[in-house]
Symmetry: C2
Subunit: 333 residues, 2 copies
């Protein structure tokens, strides 16, 4: 900046004023042009460290996650966050901790050392978390997770509505006996979708039959087992709602082994919209999409509000935002 000032024949202060477009500085256009010309001439690039040191903001956001790539579609959270940050002139500082609590602590410390303006904490599965305490030294938002006391702003998918929508889709096609191949782990997604399943049935005055809910591991083999169990019922379902697309893939395998055609003999609906599975199998799978990209966007957008407008944004208790899961119609219903 001093070099630029010298070349333009002004002071470093003036250069700073010009580059930051400081109002009330009264720099006439000719001077501005001279400075800008010098900037171009010298190929000057500001030093964000010095700027950050002086103004104590870095336009950088820390993004902490337990495991980036374990579920591919969840990477879209990162993408949504990155896109929105980028659109606002922010960059993301990334750490995935692999789930180790001590690492999380250290990760946040490293980010705080680098003076991030805020921190996003995202999990790949929807679940409760205990984020490291030091995270609260700056504005923070949780994505796809929440603390039990809801003391931190968060975004999560609407599992209940998602489950209800899936089942309502089947009901609308005339199905009355609807099986549910459910994750045996009582994670928030499983609990919520089951609530939605029951809500939809109740709204159509269909009694809940516990035999129609078969739990298993939430992978293809689990979907296979659950489907086999459902189809061996004395009064088997005409449609199966699968907890996720992996289980739906298992259901496809099972129904093929039973010589049942989808969707003619039996309808299948999934959850997650894992494109590589859902769009490519035969027939293409109708499924519910998780709003990962949108959660990433919302998280960063809200974080930026917290950063730039703390008083107006901060709510008490902190906001818990819920995003719907859109239905992706293909050919399996």
């Amino acid at each position: 900046m001093n070099d630029v000032a010298r070349l333009a024949g002004v002071s470093q202060t003036t250069v700073s004023f010009v580059l930051n477009d400081v109002e009330g500085a009264n720099i006439p256009p000719e001077t501005k042009d001279r400075v800008l010309a010098a900037v171009k001439e010298l190929d000057y690039r500001p030093n964000a460290l010095a700027r950050g040191l002086r103004s104590s903001q870095t336009h950088t956001i820390g993004f902490v996650t337990d495991r980036i790539a374990i579920t591919p579609y969840a990477v879209r959270t990162l993408e949504g966050a990155q896109d929105l940050a980028w659109a606002n002139g922010y960059l993301l500082l990334l750490v995935n901790t692999g789930g180790d609590q001590r690492l999380k602590q250290i990760a946040v410390d490293m980010m705080l050392e680098r003076q991030v303006d805020g921190i996003i904490y995202a999990t790949m599965y929807h679940r409760p978390v205990k984020p490291p305490a030091n995270m609260l030294e700056v504005p923070a938002v949780l994505i796809n997770c929440y603390t039990d006391d809801h003391s931190i702003a968060s975004v999560v998918p609407d599992e209940v509505l998602g489950g209800r929508t899936a089942v309502e889709t089947l009901l609308q096609k005339g199905h009355r006996r609807i099986g549910f191949a459910l994750d045996s782990n009582p994670v928030p997604a499983a609990v919520g979708r089951l609530v939605g399943y029951k809500q939809a049935l109740a709204a159509s005055n269909i009694p809940f039959d516990p035999n129609l809910v078969q739990t298993a591991e939430s992978i293809a083999s689990g979907g296979y087992q659950a489907t086999m169990a459902l189809m061996s019922l004395p009064d088997p379902p005409t449609a199966i709602f699968c907890y996720n697309d992996r289980m739906a893939l298992g259901a496809y395998n099972a129904l093929r082994d039973l010589n049942l055609a989808i969707p003619d003999d039996i309808a299948v609906i999934g959850f997650d919209n894992q494109e590589l599975i859902a769009a490519d199998i035969a027939p293409p799978l109708t499924t519910m999409a998780l709003p990962h990209y949108e959660m990433g966007q919302w998280g960063v957008q809200y974080l930026l509000q917290l950063i730039e407008n703390p008083e107006q944004t901060q709510q008490n208790p902190p906001i818990q935002h819920i995003l719907p899961c859109p239905l992706i119609e293909r050919a399996s219903v």
Copy 2:
């Protein structure tokens, strides 16, 4: 640091010496303990901006990519890079540009403003690139891509060896007529794998039959078409090598429609090891894995060498590292 110094009854210089373990500073253990106690007492955390400003290194690496999430398994590149950076006390500053050349330029500028110690440029598909010129102001490494003049260090997968290994696997099982469902785009992966296909045949003295190579779009429907074309040959193959797992999924669909059993009637081998597809379909798909995680690791590891040991590491011409694609045996061969 001044607060710590005051509490410990020493100068800020001494605190700096203690915290950085400066050799030749001759700080006796008692003084060290006093300083460390003050650090703990005050919960002191160094300011990385000030440190970076003074010492001109930030322990931060820029990671630029065209599109993070388009191919889920490719996210493992990011994961490998992040893990190795983390292990060495570095953090990753992330941008995905969506492929816009101007954005790349700006992205790199934003990273340079933040004084990154080096830059990784990664693409999700193996291909030639023209990285922005300003990237070379700091040490740089390309992952899964290369410049035509090979003027920048890079890591790429060994497509030729991968193709050869896939075909050799089929040859070893006794197959003599091996179809190839190939991407119709002449991208490096397609070209390389075809070379490997020919090499393997030649090594077994099997003449190359152009009819056995059917090109199509590298998605499930393309795999379906190519498989149908291959199987309607007067002398159809007994095994099909698919350019990628998505095409293999299409091949599965086609073979099912033809009432052919895998692997009894016909063997199928894929490429990419997209776990969600390969492991979950019936039968599980034998495929070649791309070394994404390893490329990410190698890229950062080499970049750190470039940063910390420029003279010893720098080669002329720059190193072009090639990583093998391991065979993942499942049940389709």
